[in-house]
């Protein structure tokens, strides 16, 4: 089967490609991914993405393992989003002993079908001598008042995590039991206490009020605060257990996945082509050395070698790419391409070039290689998903580059944090979806290209 005989123009290939519905779908997905990548590079802090992703402080104000917002449509339940309780001007300033007391009152409305995931108050204080003291009072829509305790604030930022304050929670539960006049049989969470009707157990909708008293020593002591009632849904893709919004990770992973897959596939195919051209064209000793090398390469365990080197020399995506290329240049495709070169070598136009004295390099690079490129394009495109998933596979083995965010790394983190067992499906599904649509888009285009450049397949 002589594959190289077909003359193909780029324009013709594109025109024919557009006659395949599946290829159009693939091209649309690919175009979408490219747009996403450009957006990620131009409009988000892509250069610092790795550092940002690893910095837990950056994401404090996002909910933990929140599902994507659109899941509300399917669950039929309106899960809460983040609600911010912001500081306004103090409603009252009074003296209490030698201290100054500032009272703040903030209201927020809460109209969701489920309790929030967490309640945290953030403080930022600057003071001279004595640490400011704050006390929080929670007033529910049904008029129930709950004291959330008194706290001393340190200089700089202080966060008060109410949801894991077990002492506070058991105190509050006792308060409720006193008011109800009976025991509550299960241990309640802070969110249950703050947001549920004690009798019916339903989530209370309406206006909640937070009263915050700040006691400071000096007039110049300043305390800024914000309360966050964390939601259970966030954004387009939800968040992970370190509160990182996944849509950013997916966005930042797109250019890396595309670049890695395309660069790997392109460079491996072209280097293999050059090697096979040299092997097939020169023949003799050069040929047999190259053929023996491909046999050695076949025995080299590919993935273990990659893992070994990554492990011993530290993980780095671009080193992985280089290594991947080095470990693939004498791959089995060299044998296939070499046969094509040997066919081409005997073509009249090559003979003619030889006759007028063209150099060997000129013949290889200008007369043989250009003819070999069209038939290799389908396999080049079809190989891209393999490389994208290879990165994911290495990430899955714990060998991911910590300086960048990749889809594989997000899937690995989800899997190792037990997202599958804890029911955080979005955390696995969203990055997986990106990997899958990337793979499918290249496969759709590649299979269509295969039928175009191998006309024998087209009839079938």
């Amino acid at each position: 089967m002589s594959v190289v005989s077909e003359e193909l123009s780029l324009k013709g290939v594109v025109k024919e490609l557009l006659s395949y519905k599946s290829a159009i779908l693939g091209l649309i997905i690919l175009a979408g991914l490219i747009v996403l990548s450009i957006y990620a590079i131009l409009f988000t802090p892509f250069a610092e993405s790795g550092a940002l992703w690893n910095d837990q402080q950056v994401w404090l104000k996002y909910p933990r393992t929140a599902a994507p917002e659109w899941t509300n449509i399917f669950s039929g339940k309106k899960l809460p989003k983040n609600v911010y309780v912001n500081m306004s001007k103090p409603v009252n300033i009074s003296k209490e002993g030698t201290r100054i007391k500032r009272t703040y009152i903030s209201e927020f409305s809460f109209n969701y079908d489920d309790t929030p995931s967490e309640v945290i108050f953030f403080f930022n204080a600057s003071y001279e001598k004595l640490r400011p003291k704050i006390s929080i009072l929670w007033i529910r829509p049904d008029g129930e008042n709950l004291s959330l305790g008194e706290y001393k604030i340190r200089k700089g930022g202080t966060s008060i995590y109410l949801s894991n304050n077990l002492r506070l929670i058991s105190d509050l539960q006792e308060t409720i039991e006193e008011r109800l006049g009976k025991k509550v049989n299960k241990s309640l969470t802070l969110e249950d206490i703050l947001f549920r009707d004690f009798r019916t157990g339903d989530v209370m909708k309406g206006t909640y009020t937070v009263r915050l008293d700040v006691l400071v020593k000096n007039e110049t002591d300043r305390v800024e605060w914000q309360g966050i009632v964390y939601g259970k849904v966030y954004g387009l893709a939800g968040t992970d257990d370190k509160r990182r919004p996944l849509h950013l990770g997916l966005l930042w992973g797109a250019p890396i996945a595309l670049a890695f897959g395309l660069v790997a596939s392109l460079s491996i195919t072209f280097i293999q082509l050059i090697i096979s051209a040299i092997s097939g064209y020169y023949g003799g000793k050069v040929d047999s050395v190259i053929q023996r090398l491909t046999e050695i390469y076949m025995i080299l365990p590919f993935l273990p070698m990659l893992v070994l080197v990554q492990l011993l020399y530290g993980m780095n995506l671009w080193r992985l790419l280089l290594l991947l290329i080095v470990l693939s240049i004498f791959g089995t495709s060299v044998k296939t391409y070499r046969v094509w070169v040997m066919q081409l070598k005997s073509y009249p136009y090559v003979e003619a070039a030889k006759a007028y004295g063209a150099s060997n390099m000129r013949i290889i690079f200008l007369y043989i290689l250009p003819r070999l490129i069209p038939p290799t394009i389908p396999s080049l495109v079809l190989a891209v998903p393999g490389y994208v998933f290879l990165e994911a596979a290495l990430a899955f083995l714990g060998l991911s580059d910590v300086n960048i965010v990749t889809w594989g790394r997000i899937v690995e983190e989800a899997f190792s944090e037990g997202a599958l067992y804890k029911g955080y499906y979005h955390w696995v599904l969203m990055p997986s979806l990106m990997l899958v649509i990337t793979a499918i888009s290249f496969a759709l285009i590649g299979i269509a290209l295969d039928r175009i450049v191998n006309p024998k397949l087209k009839e079938m």
Partner: protein
């Protein structure tokens, strides 16, 4: 005595393969040793052995700890010199090669086998059967699905089923381990019908029948993940392959002669297609060894791949190098079996014309 040509060819191929394995293993050793890891390992191992010998020797039991440490250091130096670790790397690298070839893979730094041994060889031999069981089964099932699916589809060329398979073939761009994640999600997290991973239930059933059934139950998801991943592309590529063969002139002649379709398929399509099919199978097996690492990690399947993953997490270099070498052997063994099969099915090799390939 006259040696049949097929044996001659096979012996020759075996020798060439052996040389190739030697070179591949040597490359592995070079790669692993550039960071000086193997040297450090060997020295550590010697120090450990010497320390053990000194501790257990009643002759030295009255020495103070300081004297003991000094003695251990001195004896270790002697031993390092005796083993030639002070020699240049080039000379030593061949010694390591010899160790690897003779499967003298050294001691693990942190990992132990299930029987408690620290020997890398024992660890590997304990894990190897599970890997071969799972992935050879997966490859064989995939091979036959592709073969028979492709064959039957090539008869129904152009039908709805045919087009469906073509349209669904891009799903195979997703690797098996990745499908594994979804299968766990569906069959374990959601439906609770199959275990998410492992080899047998815990505690293992005491009777052999129960044990085998339990292992089979644990094999379903990993096998399924590979079958799903390969299903459509396997059938699609085989179908195309058979269609290409069925357009050959001699098939037309056979049809013109009025031979029954079954006979045409067996004699004129399958028979000449056999060598490439076998190659395809061998490559699938070779590929499965590499795929084992990640799939076993997803399914927590206690094979060589999982051992590799655990060794990575513990940075246990002797185990990593050992398994890399063993993977090389497995691939070489597969290629050799391929050569034998070729010898059986390809008349040119039977006739001693193996060089023509």
């Amino acid at each position: 005595m006259k040696v049949p040509p097929v044996v001659k060819v096979l012996v020759k191929r075996a020798l060439i393969l052996f040389v190739i394995v030697l070179i591949a293993t040597y490359i592995t050793i070079l790669v692993a040793n550039v960071g000086g890891y193997i040297d450090d390992l060997k020295k550590k191992e010697i120090e450990f052995q010497v320390a053990q010998a000194v501790q257990n020797n009643p002759q030295y039991k009255d020495l103070s700890p300081v004297e003991k440490t000094a003695l251990i250091k001195k004896l270790a130096q002697v031993e390092i010199k005796r083993q030639g670790l002070d020699q240049p790397f080039i000379i030593r690298s061949f010694r390591y090669l010899w160790d690897a070839i003779t499967l003298d893979l050294g001691r693990a730094e942190k990992m132990t086998s299930d029987s408690g041994s620290r020997s890398v060889r024992v660890i590997i031999l304990e894990r190897l059967p599970q890997t071969i069981l799972l992935f050879t089964t997966a490859t064989v099932i995939n091979f036959f699905i592709g073969l028979f699916g492709g064959l039957s589809l090539s008869r129904k060329f152009g039908s709805f089923l045919d087009r469906l398979v073509i349209y669904l073939s891009p799903t195979s761009a997703i690797p098996g381990w990745f499908y594994g994640i979804f299968l766990i999600m569906i069959f374990y997290t959601w439906l609770h019908v199959l275990p998410p991973g492992g080899l047998v239930d815990y505690p293992p059933p005491p009777d052999p029948v129960g044990y085998v059934l339990s292992v089979l139950k644990h094999m379903i998801l990993p096998l399924l993940s590979w079958i799903v991943s390969n299903f459509f592309i396997g059938i699609y590529s085989n179908r195309t392959f058979f269609l290409l063969y069925s357009t050959e002139d001699y098939v037309e002649v056979a049809k013109a002669k009025g031979l029954p379709p079954g006979q045409i398929e067996r004699r004129y399509i399958l028979r000449p297609a056999l060598p490439p099919i076998i190659t395809q199978f061998a490559f699938a097996v070779v590929f499965s060894w590499s795929g084992a690492i990640i799939t076993e990690t997803v399914f927590n399947w206690p094979g060589l791949g999982l051992a590799y993953y655990q060794a990575i997490n513990l940075v246990d270099v002797p185990v990593i190098v050992g398994i890399t070498v063993v993977f090389g052997y497995l691939i070489a063994a597969t290629v050799f079996i391929l050569e034998i099969l070729y010898g059986l099915v390809d008349p040119r090799i039977k006739a001693g014309l193996g060089e023509a390939l």
